[in-house]
Amino acid sequence: MTSLLDDLLNGLALGAVYALVALGFVVIFKASGVINFAQGSLLLFGGYLTAVLHDDLGFAGALAVAVLATALLAGALDRLLLQRGEPDPRMAHVQTIVTIGVDIVLLTDLSRRIGGDLLSLGDPWGDSVVTLGSVTVADSRLAAIAVSAVAIAAVFALFRFTPWGLSLRAAAEDTEAAALMGVRLSRVRMLAWCLAGALAALAAVFLAAFPAPGLERTTGQIALKAFPAAILGGMASPPGALAGSLLIGLTEALVAGHQSDLHVLGEGFGDVAPYAVMVLVLLVRPTGLFGAKGAARV
């Protein structure tokens, strides 16, 4: 039994990391209509690069290289494998399956390299904690909240204030009209994938930091929990992804914190509670909390 404040802080930190991944899903979905199943292995790729490079480049250098490399990989993936021929929104489901194939290849290769090891990312926070009044928090969790907040603010600023952000929003609103107005859809798309890749690599750091033991080959599966987060908020809504992630993070932390009171639901219910919450929310709001209803035209 932990105190409520502990759970809330843990939930906030967890939610912040989910938000990084969920935002990646949303950006990609907005730009290309594809659900990126390879997000988890992109995350693992970023984490693996950081782990391998941090001895030579230091943590900051390794992270920078990893973020850049993952962004490039995601962009290349979109450009070389998904964007073939004329852009056609009907192809989105086929491209979604292509990302499954890519995920299988990437994950197999990374799993082979990582093996059964636990890789340290060499992050500066280690296992130190701070005590604020009655609450003890790991430094890494505070860092997760702070860094995610900055990164998310930066992404929102990108949406709002840059020409690319404007193009992305226009393309998501009406692809054809945007193309006629001179928006280069393929470039907008590719940049969206790059951004999602960078966010995934960043998220990997906090998923592998204390209290987690390190980067393992299953770390990428966390990306699956960002699915309900992205859906809860409404798949095409970045603020929704944020709200959904916090809700999922808090749910998971609270359920895990009160495990002993909830034992009727079984051991480890905290891991699946996000999905239960998601189904309940979707029953009431079928397009998510912030999802647009959308008028149908025949």
């Binding site: 979905f29 659900i35 199943f37 494998l81 073939r84 021929g85 004329e86 056609d88 009907r90 192809m91 489901h93 086929v94 399956i97 292509v98 499954i100 194939g101 890519v102 995920d103 299988i104 290849v105 197999t108 290769d109 799993s111 082979r112 699956l224 699915f227 309900p228 992205a230 859906i231 798949m235 639901l265 079984g266 051991e267 480890g268 219910f269 891991d271 699946v272 999905y275 239960a276 998601m278 189904v279 979707l282 029953l283 079928p286 397009t287 998510g288 999802g291 149908a296 035209r297 025949v298």
Partner: protein, 374 residues
């Protein structure tokens, strides 16, 4: 045209006869691959009805497979009512349908990606349930599956002893014929459904929900019904898989399995029964074959040598992932579309008047959105 009318049934009978041959010529390894492929094909046809025809994305197929497999095991098993196995199998399929029906408040309202991720919840909640309810499911270690008995004839190695044409019929041989019979049932019911009024209604629903509703299609009802039918096919596939594996464990029914089924129907070509079957065979058999023969491929290390080389299992995964990517890059409309294009190219060109529409087919690789049933 009277000779053409008999062509299709004749081809079907010939194919059925050919499919009866493997037990006499192939060993148990191949029969098991075939059996898994047939079971997967039944499940994939169900998913194809839902996702390809009705246009509802589902990632929850593994859950309904699990309901079928565990339903049969529990209903026929010792901790459980211990019903006659044939009855248990039928009830397990119905149980999967009921599970799909219980999900209909969600399935009837959600669409597209939202439904896809909502069904993701089924897999995770189901997996949790399988681990937790160990009095029914056996927990993490699963349960062994009681063999099926039909009127005194057991689908086991020696109950009764059976030798056909000098070939001893063990469990694999017997289950192969059971699988074929069930697959035949699936094939005809699914094609019948697709070409009947409900099938047309579902296709209309996929193409435009509003238009379908205006034409008098009860949207929520048909969407839920598609979900129920698809779950029942999944349940049947689950029963067959349980019989083939002889043991059910929770970890088999994971998200990866759902994703495999999704890959099957897209690789096969959405909305086509034949395509779903081809995709199922491809996705099921490829990793098994690769694992078996990977050591004969170049660059593959023999298992056990820890020199960081690529093991056979990994090589199989690489090739499987790469195959998905390559097939969809060059045939976005799946194997079914590929076959149709090849057929169109091979067909001797008829009279020039008919030629124009046919000759455009090979040069148009894009997915046809409003393609109807096969």
């Amino acid at each position: 045209m009277s000779d053409r009318r008999y062509l299709k049934p004749a081809a079907a009978v010939a194919l059925a006869l050919v499919l009866c041959l493997p037990p006499f010529y192939l060993d148990a390894f191949w029969l098991r691959i075939g059996l898994f492929s047939v079971a997967a094909a039944i499940g994939a046809v169900g998913l194809s009805l839902l996702s390809g025809t009705a246009g509802q994305l589902s990632l929850g197929h593994a859950f309904f497979l699990a309901v079928g497999a565990y339903g049969y095991t529990w209903l026929a098993g010792d901790p459980g009512p211990g019903l006659p196995t044939a009855l248990a199998a039928v009830l397990a399929v119905l149980l999967a349908g009921v599970a799909g029906g219980l999900f209909s408040p969600v399935a009837g309202r959600l669409r597209g990606v939202y439904l896809g991720v909502a069904t993701l919840a089924l897999v995770f909640l189901g997996h949790h349930l399988l681990l937790t309810a160990d009095s029914v499911t056996g927990g993490f270690n699963g349960r062994s599956v009681p063999p099926l008995t039909l009127g005194g004839f057991g689908f086991t190695a020696d109950d009764p002893e059976l030798t056909v044409l000098g070939v001893p019929f063990g469990a694999e041989e017997r289950l192969w014929f059971l699988g074929l019979a069930l697959f035949g049932l699936t094939w005809f019911t699914a094609r019948g459904l697709l070409r009947s009024r409900p099938g047309r209604a579902l296709a209309a629903l996929r193409d435009s929900e509003t238009a379908a509703a205006v034409m008098g299609v009860d949207v929520a009802r048909y969407r839920s019904a598609a979900f129920v039918v698809s779950s029942m096919y999944a349940g049947l596939a689950g029963v067959l898989l349980a019989l083939a594996f002889r043991r059910v464990v929770p970890d088999y029914f994971s998200l990866a399995l759902s994703v495999d089924y999704l890959a099957m129907i897209v690789i096969g070509g959405l909305g086509s029964v034949a395509g779903a079957t081809a995709g199922a065979v491809f996705v099921t058999a490829l990793p098994l074959l690769m694992t078996r023969y990977a050591d004969q491929l170049p660059l593959v290390a023999t298992p056990g040598t820890e020199d960081g080389g690529v093991g056979p299992t990994e090589a199989a995964r690489y090739l499987y992932g790469a195959a998905i990517v390559v097939i969809l890059l060059y045939a976005p409309d799946g194997l079914h579309g590929l076959a149709r294009r090849v057929r169109a190219r091979l067909r001797p060109h008829p009279a020039p008047a008919e030629q124009t529409p046919a000759s455009t087919v090979p040069s148009a690789p894009a997915v046809r959105p409003k393609e109807h049933t096969p």
